[in-house]
Symmetry: C2
Subunit: 210 residues, 2 copies
DNA sequence: TGTTTTTTGTTATTATTATAACAGTCAAAA
DNA sequence: TTTTGACTGTTATAATAATAACAAAAAACA
């Protein structure tokens, strides 16, 4: 009868992870919800409540052990496993992701890259050669892929998503400015970059009113 | 006594904008909150309530005129103005943004680019030459810049933010995985890309439990 | 032209999320 | 050891956000 964790909480987990990583690099050993609150900007109460959704990781009179908590959060997030990824759409953004060391070296190997543009097909990035997008379905049949990354233009996004789903991916990391329709056993994580610029602009132009 | 618009609403505005743009391209003239609800996935009630924060754009028995509403939302977002931008950090991601036609052609001219890497300093992208980051403060003194884009590594992000603020930018579009400290008259829009991958992974690994 | 249907704007209600409060536990100090 | 103070885990309360309901208005139809 484990209660469903709300999206708000799930979206804060990577934030905790980030701050804990920084704290580890500062060689801090432990931290109270109160101190963490000052850094991270959430209330101490919220921090304690968030963490308690997953277990009692702290200790009264001591706080939280940073290294242990970091490990727990990684485990909660599912980062103790490897996720094999393919990139569809090898433009500037696709290449930026492909070149991001953190991904291909730490649990997120990019094992295939696809595009329809003859100019990039054949290109080699970190020992992976960009293939024709027509090969995508076959590739997915032959290789277990966990996450498909969509960095195509928006018009192609749903079609690619369909092929990725058909090929059995468990998640889609979508950078195209289109919301995707997928079966409910597949998760989508959107990065609607332009949306964030638009809401930033809203805040800029309404900042005086407050 | 205009009530403060919540972040939840502000973050949905770009979504409305995106769907309305698509509808315009489909040459649809009008839409009811109910039909829009089916497309966009928010409840009709929420759509009506969101829009009514800004004015009565619809008409009983008719719905919303798409072209007019699109224009209204652009105006609400502040997209009827121009925002001059600089990019700090011209790696893969910075270049991807610099090359994005939509930005430099539609209200978001990129007028300066900066890096510390001698290999990219001097590089020309869309007629803008990458300068040494040491020139940033001087450049900001001489040119009105509205938005600074941070695409550096996380360690440099806060220092760049300080210089951007000092140089008078109104907003910072931050792609570095660090939360920034800025005065309250400056807005920050974060794109914590890796956070979205982490929460996607959470959802993937917990999808069966539901 | 009158009637029915559609659909909004807006208020009321419910659900969700965040904050506050506090008893109980552990660590550190005396 | 014993006591004090520092914290968590957890429940209670408040704030916020989403949904539902509905009267009023306009459009469509007869």
């Amino acid at each position: 009868m484990k209660a469903k964790i709300s999206d708000a909480v799930v979206n804060r987990l990577p934030v905790y992870r980030r701050y804990l990583e920084d704290l580890m690099h500062e060689d801090v050993e432990r931290i109270s919800s109160n101190e963490l609150s000052k850094r991270i900007g959430f209330t101490a109460s919220q921090i304690r409540q968030d963490l308690n959704n997953f277990g009692g990781f702290g200790q009264q009179g001591y706080g939280y052990n940073i290294r242990a908590l970091y490990k727990e959060i990684n485990s909660i997030l599912g980062l103790d496993q490897e996720y094999r990824m393919v990139i569809v759409g090898v433009g500037n953004l696709g290449q930026a992701i492909a070149n991001h060391t953190k991904y291909y070296k730490n649990g997120f190997p990019i094992i295939g890259m696809f595009d329809i543009n003859p100019k990039v097909i054949g290109l080699r990035i970190n020992d992976v050669v960009v293939q024709d997008a027509d090969n995508l379905v076959d590739f997915l049949k032959e290789n277990k892929v966990d996450i498909g990354i969509i960095t195509t233009e928006k018009e192609a996004a749903q079609g690619i998503a369909d092929r990725l789903v058909q090929g059995g991916v468990r998640g889609i990391w979508n950078f195209a400015p289109r919301d995707l329709v997928v079966p409910k056993n597949v998760s989508v994580g959107n990065v609607h970059v332009t949306d964030t610029l638009n809401s930033l602009v809203y805040r800029i132009s309404h900042i005086e009113e407050e």
